[in-house]
Amino acid sequence: MSAHPPTRPIGWTLAVDTSTVVTAGLARDGRTVASEQAGDNHSHVELLVPTIQAVLADAGIGWADLAAIGVGVGPGPFTGLRVGVATAVTAGIAAGVPVIGVCSLDAIAAQWAARGAPAEFIIASDARRRELYWAAYRDGRRVGQPRVSAPAVLPELPTAGPGVRVYPDLLAPRRPGDAPLGLDAGLLAAHLHELPDVGLEPLYLRTPDAAPPTARKSALTGRRHRLRPGTAQ
C-alpha cells in the first residue's frame, strides 16, 4: 500500500468482491470511475454478472477493453466467495485479461488508509458462528495473516469493516466516524496494483465441516447411523 509508490496502470481495471454483498467497480488509469453494490448475502450468483454488465455498459466499455481484473478472495462466506472468484477466473480466460486476487480486508484497509487511517488499526468482517474474520494493519500494511476468532479476541485498536455492524456494542466505540464499513469495488479497482497479490484461492481460514465416519451404531437396535456432511456456510 503506501510503502510502495503507486504505479499507474494504463487502461481499465474491473474489480469485483463477493465477500459480503455483491460489489463491482471500475477504474481508469488508477482513478475510480464506477462503483456498484447489490443484493444481500444470498444472491451472489444471481446478481454478480448482471451488476458487472451494468457497470461496463454505464462506462460505455466492454470486457475486451479491460486491462486487468481484480477480485476479493475473502475471507468471507464460502459460497459467495466462490461466485466472485469463478467469475473473475472465467472472465480472465474468456477475455484474455490478467486476474489478480486480493484479500478483501486489505481492500477495505486501503480505502481507510487513503483518507488517513490511524497508524495501527483492525479490519473485521462477519464470519458467522459468533466469530469475526479480521486482520491487523500497521502503517497501512497488513501484519500477519487474516484470522478468524471470537470478537473478544480482537486487539483493542481502532476498527473498521463490516464486522463493526455485527458487534456494535463491542466495536462501534472503536470506530472513528469516517472509517469504512464496507468494501468499495471502485476503490479496489483504483488501488488494485498497490495491494498484495494473494492468489486466486479463496481465503477460507476454516477447514470443511466434515469428519470421517466413526464407529457405526448397531442396526439391531434400530438406530440409524448417518454421516452428517458439512454444509457450506
Partner: protein
C-alpha cells in the same frame, strides 16, 4: 445455419466438467472428479466438492477448448447445469457459465441435469455419423449416487415427466453404505460389483423395497433402499455376533441382486404400464454389470428397446449439458437470462430455467 457449437458446464455433484458439441457431434468432454477427496468421509462432502470445483473449473475450460480445437469466440451458446444438485457446487459452474456468456455475448441456457443424462445418448455414435434420434416417448432410468428415477420423456426440450423416484436413498448411496459395512472402500458401486463376482446372488434373500401389495398401490414405480441397507446391516451384525465369518462375496452379490432386481422390475413395469417401447439408462450406476445384464434380459423379454450410452457418457459430464443445450438452441427456445440462480431441487419438468 450449421449445427450450433455449444459449450456445456456441469458441476452439480463431485465432477467438474466442460464439454463442447457441434449439434450432436462430441468435440470435447473434460472431466475432473473430486471423488478421492471424499473417500475418507464415505460420501460426498458438499464443501469439499465445492472447493474442488473452483480449483478445477478454469483448467477444465482451457482443456476442453484445446481438445475441441475451437476458439471460444466461435461458440453459439453456453449451457450449464442449473439444478438439481448441491447448491455450493452448482453456483461455481453457473458463475463460470454466466461469465462466459456475458464476455462472449452469447445466450446462456441454465438446464436440468437429469434431462442431460437422457440427451447424452445423442452423442453416442461414431464421429462423423449422424445421431440416432431418441424415440418419443422414451422411458429414462437414471441411477447414480445422487438419483434413482424413472422419467417419461416425450421431448427432451420440454416434455419430461417423473414416473417414479426414490423415496429415501439413491441407489448409489446404498452401495456406498453397504460397502462401508463390509469394510470395502468408497465409492461402493465398483467394489461391490467386483466383490459380487465370486458370490452367490441367491445366498441371502434381501428385501425388495416398495414391492409389497400395499406399497404397490401408492408407490408402484417408486424406489426405496433404506430398508435394504438396514437389512444388510442386521444380517452382517447378527453373523458377527454369532461369531461367524461374513461371506463378503455372497452378501455383495445378494445385495446387488436385490438392487438390480427391484430397479429393473419396476422400470419394465413402468414401460409396460405407460405403453413405452424404448428405454434409456443413465447415471453412474448404469455401469453396474448386474444391472446392465438383468435390464437387457428383462427389456428384451418385454419387447422394449434398450439404449445405454457408453459408461463415460453415463456419469456426470459437461457434454450431456452441451448436447441438451444444442437441442434447445435448435428448437428455437428462449435462453435463460443472466440473472438466473441455481436450484438444488429443480423439478424434472423444468428443462430450461428462467429468471
Amino acid at each position: 445455419m450449421s449445427e450450433p457449437l455449444v459449450l456445456g458446464i456441469e458441476s452439480s455433484c463431485d465432477e467438474t466438467s466442460v464439454g463442447i458439441v457441434r449439434g450432436e457431434q462430441l468435440l470435447a468432454n473434460e472431466v475432473a472428479s473430486s471423488m478421492e477427496l471424499h473417500a475418507r468421509f464415505g460420501g460426498v462432502v458438499p464443501e469439499v466438492a465445492s472447493r474442488a470445483h473452483l480449483e478445477a473449473i478454469g483448467p477444465a475450460l482451457r482443456r476442453a477448448v484445446a481438445a475441441a480445437d475451437v476458439d471460444l469466440s466461435e461458440l453459439d451458446a453456453v449451457a450449464v447445469t442449473a439444478g438439481p444438485g448441491l447448491m455450493g457446487s452448482l453456483v461455481v459452474g453457473l458463475a463460470a457459465a454466466k461469465t462466459l456468456a456475458a464476455v462472449l455475448g452469447r445466450p446462456l441456457y441454465g438446464l436440468n441435469h437429469l434431462v442431460g443424462h437422457v440427451a447424452v445418448d445423442l452423442l453416442d455414435h461414431p464421429a462423423g455419423e449422424p445421431a440416432r434420434p431418441l424415440a418419443r416417448p422414451t422411458l429414462a432410468l437414471l441411477v447414480s449416487g445422487g438419483h434413482t428415477q424413472l422419467l417419461r420423456v416425450g421431448n427432451i426440450t420440454g416434455d419430461v415427466v417423473e414416473v417414479g423416484t426414490t423415496i429415501d436413498d439413491a441407489a448409489g448411496e446404498a452401495y456406498d453404505k453397504v460397502a462401508r459395512l463390509l469394510g470395502l472402500p468408497y465409492p461402493g458401486g465398483p467394489v461391490i460389483d467386483e466383490a459380487a463376482r465370486g458370490g452367490d446372488p441367491t445366498a441371502i434373500r434381501f428385501p425388495r423395497g416398495l414391492t409389497a401389495p400395499h406399497d404397490m398401490a401408492r408407490h408402484r414405480f417408486d424406489y426405496s433402499f433404506s430398508g435394504l441397507k438396514t437389512a444388510v446391516a442386521r444380517w452382517v451384525e447378527t453373523r458377527r455376533l454369532d461369531g461367524l465369518d461374513v461371506p463378503v462375496a455372497d452378501v455383495a452379490a445378494s445385495f446387488q441382486e436385490a438392487v438390480a432386481d427391484v430397479i429393473t422390475a419396476k422400470a419394465v413395469d413402468a414401460a409396460r404400464h405407460h405403453g413405452i417401447t424404448d428405454m434409456i439408462i443413465g447415471g453412474g450406476v448404469a455401469a453396474n454389470s448386474r444391472l446392465r445384464t438383468l435390464l437387457a434380459e428383462r427389456t428384451a423379454t418385454a419387447g422394449v428397446v434398450l439404449r445405454r450410452p457408453r459408461p463415460g457418457l453415463c456419469t456426470d459430464n459437461g457434454a450431456m449439458i452441451a448436447v441438451l443445450g444444442a437441442q434447445i438452441v435448435e428448437a428455437g427456445l428462449e435462453p435463460s437470462g443472466l440473472g438466473i440462480g441455481a436450484d438444488s431441487g429443480l423439478p424434472v419438468g423444468t428443462v430450461v430455467v428462467r429468471d
